[in-house]
């Protein structure tokens, strides 16, 4: 098992549940046992949740695994059936699950400048939380989910917050332009400035950042900057291994890779979606929890199992006290209809359709209606 976060842990659990009683080694590049990442931009960052509560393993849970933590994988030798680690060790195995996740993109030229943060790991969140506690002016670069959640948390902590988004509308990719505008309207509702359609030219500051420079010539004074401009899959260590890579590890609909005895799950894995007819790399928590079951079945059966139809991908976000839930694929839709609530009241249930058939659903503070719509969506696509 290469990767010790949610996807790796879920795969380890699935292996044991599906009857694998052999030796299990879990390799993780962070020093921490598996922890839950979604609260890092929300409750943990706000100080409402401590580190102990982030643990993904239940008390007393024992997967009879050997944990190699703080160990970074640097290569996969398919012929020798071994993973090489940065400290020179080698771990041999009959089967491999690749779950190395993704790493936050950074801004060119920001390295070494104090006060500039990305948010992906527990260590990132600790550092950011400590700086947020000092208050001041925060500029968030990127109006996606991470950026919006950090802005929301920082606003609640009393900081002066500005969000800069290069696209004309934030969240237009995952939610479509119309609903992206509704959800990102939450910033203005709370007096958080949102600047759209303007790129970032660079950062200014000697040893510590003091401003964000925009491409239109404006300069935004900043005590603290959070860069939330997406993530890329951690698969550099697999280059030269012979495994097919294409926006992550290229996988079949059951998690199999181009190498026998190797499956991939989670953010690093680009699974084939039989319904859409192309590959999709899904960076959602739910995918990391649910897909390992199928991948492990594939690994144990040597590829002899027929993959089931996955449920439509689901994710959630909490911003400014509003619970946002989404399932399906917004990009497939040719129409979006608000079926309950209103955009102005930020309590919409919106259904996305293509040729009259539902392809996605969005809820803002509508958990019960959202669940019903999500069930209908799952029934419609299965």
């Amino acid at each position: 098992m290469v990767g010790a976060s949610l996807a790796g842990l879920s795969a380890a659990r699935s292996l044991r549940k599906q009857g694998f009683d052999g030796r299990l080694v879990v390799i993780g590049d962070e020093l921490h046992r598996p922890y839950d990442r979604p609260p890092l931009s929300k409750e943990f960052l706000a100080g409402a949740l401590g580190e102990a509560e982030l643990a993904l393993e239940a008390e007393g849970e024992d997967l009879a695994a050997q944990w190699l933590l703080g160990a970074r994988a640097t290569g996969l030798d398919h012929v020798a059936r071994a993973v090489r680690l940065a400290d020179g060790r080698e771990v041999r195995a009959d089967g491999f699950v690749i779950a190395t996740g993704a790493v936050a993109r950074t801004l060119p030229g920001s390295a070494g400048l104090a006060g500039v943060h990305t948010l992906r790991t527990l260590d990132d969140a600790r550092a950011l939380r400590d700086e947020l506690a000092r208050g001041g002016r925060l500029v968030v670069i990127g109006g996606g989910f991470i950026g919006a959640e950090v802005a929301s948390t920082a606003y609640a902590l009393g900081l002066d917050v500005t969000v800069v988004e290069a696209a004309p509308t934030p969240l237009a990719g995952p939610l479509g332009a119309a609903m992206g505008a509704v959800v990102s309207g939450l910033h203005a509702d709370h007096g958080v400035r949102l600047l759209c359609g303007v790129g970032v030219k660079g950062l200014s500051g000697e040893s510590r950042v003091d401003a964000v420079l925009l491409e239109d010539g404006r300069s935004l004074p900043a005590d603290l900057v959070v860069v939330g401009v997406g993530a890329h899959p951690c698969v550099g260590w697999l280059e030269g291994s012979g495994i097919a890579l294409d926006n992550g590890v290229k996988c079949g609909a059951d998690g199999r890779t181009s190498l026998a005895g190797v499956v991939a799950v989670g953010d690093c894995a680009n699974w084939y979606d039989p319904r859409a007819g192309h590959h999709r790399r899904v960076e959602h928590w739910t995918g990391a929890r649910e897909r390992p079951e199928a991948a492990v079945a594939t690994l144990l059966a040597g590829g002899a199992v027929e993959p089931g139809v996955p449920r439509p991908p689901y994710f959630w976000s909490d911003q400014y006290g509003v619970r946002i839930q989404f399932a399906g694929h917004a990009a497939e839709a040719d129409s979006v209809t608000v079926e309950a609530g209103t955009a102005d009241d930020r309590d919409v249930l919106a259904v996305y359709r293509r040729d009259g058939r539902p392809v996605a659903v969005l809820g803002m503070n509508q958990p019960r209606l959202f669940m019903r719509a999500r069930k209908q969506l799952a029934a419609a696509v299965s």
């Binding site: 659990r13 409750e43 100080g47 409402a48 401590g50 008390e59 958990p367 669940m371």
Partner: protein, 119 residues
């Protein structure tokens, strides 16, 4: 026993949330059985009455933890602790619930709020 709602007002496949502290939900399964469990997921603050009811299991609407309605046990993570179960009775078409006297397993954010800490 606390009156919840009329049986006629709770169709199969639906749940009724009882506004006690902490809230409790009564589930009417597709097979016609009634179960009462704590409404708040033990992982994070979400109402199980809004969840996905299938057989004798409810899936949390937020992060897909599954709980067994009969025992309160966690069938699927991320939740780690069980919910409490409560006794249900029906008299003259009225559903009643007798609340468990055990301590509930509330999620960390809710526990902190009840203790007067940050929400």
């Amino acid at each position: 026993m606390i009156p919840a709602c009329r049986l006629a007002d709770l169709p199969r496949g639906e749940a009724f949330r009882l506004d006690v502290d902490p809230p409790v939900s009564v589930f009417h399964t597709d097979d016609g059985e009634l179960f009462a469990i704590d409404d708040t997921c033990t992982h994070q603050d979400a109402s199980l009455a809004d969840g996905w009811l299938e057989g004798c299991e409810v899936e949390c609407p937020l992060h897909a933890s599954k709980f067994d309605l009969r025992t309160g046990a966690v069938d699927s993570p991320p939740a780690k602790l069980p919910v409490r179960t409560h006794e249900v009775a029906v008299e003259n078409d009225m559903i009643y619930v007798r609340l468990s006297t055990e301590a509930p397993n509330l999620p960390p954010c809710v526990s902190a709020r009840l203790a007067g800490g940050p929400a």
